[in-house]
């Protein structure tokens, strides 16, 4: 009897039906993810050092001048305009929650965190930050003045792209840039025909439903019941013209990056 089961298991495991076809861009997705993890790890190390400094009671002013890059450099200008004072610890990925509404162009959202008067509150633990109640914004937000669909020339004029860009695909069709607030070299992907087709939110920015880096997968699904699985992440289609989607990349448990993607993207792999 045992032998029968042994044989059956071997036969089942050698069955062709176990084959899973990979999508053509599966390799590229892995390479992008590996690169993202490597960069996040170094960013988290930096953040850890910053948290240690805060713990030791070093003032925010000193903190700002002691970092490798200042908060001002990292802050997206359009997002900062909704805060009366720029938060200074935007590099703290793990603990910093700055309640900056993702769509800063939408003042009617009534987000209670919009007028954040005290930079000190930006170091509050994530758990104490209330989820903003307003309905989902269906218009894509701007990041550093960058928006989906913006042409490469216009995007470069904002000064928010880190030059030089690099080829986003093997054919060199689209161009990838890091942005001032997101060091990932593929933070923004620009198509010659459609403009910006892929844009990454800074780690401290939130979507209008309060989703940000660190939000659990369960909470994303609660906030966006229409979310569908897409590779290792979640995709939420927004009802706007032109059509676009949030892509929440996750590690299986929590969000690791928030991207906005033009549905009509013609950049391979994005």
């Amino acid at each position: 009897m045992d032998d029968d089961l042994d044989d059956e298991l071997r036969r089942l495991f050698s069955d062709d039906r176990l084959d899973v076809h990979a999508t053509p861009d599966a390799t590229d997705a892995v390479l992008r993810g590996a690169d993202r993890r490597r960069r996040r790890r170094s960013a988290v190390s930096t953040a850890f050092a910053v948290v240690t400094l805060v713990g030791a009671g070093v003032g925010l002013t000193q903190l700002r001048s002691s970092g490798d890059h200042t908060a001002d450099e990292l802050l997206p200008t359009s997002v900062a305009s909704t805060s009366s004072t720029p938060p200074s610890t935007s590099t703290v990925y793990s603990t910093s929650v700055v309640t900056v509404p993702a769509p800063p162009s939408n003042p009617s959202s009534g987000n209670p965190g919009t007028g954040n008067p005290n930079p000190g509150t930006s170091t509050k633990p994530r758990t104490t930050t209330p989820l903003p109640p307003p309905p989902p914004s269906e218009q894509p937000s701007k990041v550093d003045g960058l928006a989906l669909g913006m042409t490469e020339a216009d995007a470069l004029k904002t000064g928010s792209l880190v030059e030089p860009g690099s080829a986003a695909d093997p054919q060199g069709k689209c161009t990838a840039y890091a942005t001032k607030s997101v060091p990932d070299p593929n933070a923004a992907i620009i198509s010659p025909a459609r403009g910006i087709v892929w844009l990454t939110l800074p780690s401290y920015a939130k979507t209008s439903k309060g989703v940000t880096v660190g939000t659990s997968v369960a909470d994303v699904k609660a906030a966006y019941p229409t979310a569908t699985q897409s590779g290792s992440g979640l995709r939420v289609e927004m009802a706007a013209t032109p059509k676009w989607s949030y892509i929440f990349e996750t590690d299986g448990a929590a969000v690791t990056a928030v991207r906005m993607r033009l549905n009509s993207s013609d950049c391979p792999g994005y």
Binding site: M1, D2, L5, D6, E8, L9, R10, L12, F13, D15, D16, R17, L18, D19, V20, H21, A22, T23, A26, T27, A29, V30, L31, G33, A34, D35, R36, R37, R38, R41, S216, V217, A218, K221, T228, Q229, S230, G231, S232, D251, G252, A253
Partner: protein, 177 residues
């Protein structure tokens, strides 16, 4: 999990990055079909298989230079990491009570429905992930008990007991006890 932790804790070096990236890309291209298949055997469905392969390869890729320096066969290393990651993901999911089986993850398994109707496949699905991993490593990977123990970071005695429990449940579910 041990393997993954070691991976996370390994020191990072900056040298030869471009070369390492090209080398890793080739490794991914070559190993992807086999890993997806192995992931399917481990997780029981193609969507979880794709997620598992993607997440483990991302971790390995972000440490590729360190992984290669360890001198192990990278493919064996990835397979061990997948088994351990799958076990830990399952634990976490059980706590979060996540909704499973989401559509549209970009992978398609041919003739999946026929496989789904296999009593043995269904019975495997009911096994706890560590028991299932032991079975997959034994009958898919053809590893010895000592090799399974080493891969999962458990004792040979635990491998034996998990294996016999798994076989007993499979026989029960197939109505053969």
């Amino acid at each position: 999990m041990t393997a993954v932790l070691q991976l996370e804790l390994a020191a990072e070096r900056g040298g030869g990055r471009a070369e390492a990236v090209g080398d890793f890309a080739e490794f991914v291209r070559m190993s992807m079909p086999g890993l997806l298949r192995y992931g399917h055997a481990l997780t029981g469905n193609p969507h979880d298989a794709a997620d598992l392969v993607q997440s483990v390869l991302e971790k390995v890729g972000s440490r590729w230079v360190a992984v290669q320096r360890k001198g192990d066969d990278p493919l064996a290393y990835v397979r061990r990491a997948m088994a351990n990651t799958h076990i830990s993901i399952w634990r976490r999911r059980r706590r979060e009570n996540l909704v499973a089986d989401l559509p549209d993850s970009g992978v398609v398994a041919p003739e999946l429905s026929r496989l789904e109707n296999e009593p043995l496949w269904q019975a495997l699905r009911e096994l706890p992930p560590r028991q299932r991993a032991v079975i997959v490593l034994r009958y898919y990977e053809n590893l010895s008990e000592a090799e399974i123990a080493n891969a999962l970071g458990i004792s040979c005695g635990t491998v034996k007991s998990q294996s016999s429990k798994a076989m007993a449940s499979l026989r029960t579910r197939l109505g053969r006890d």
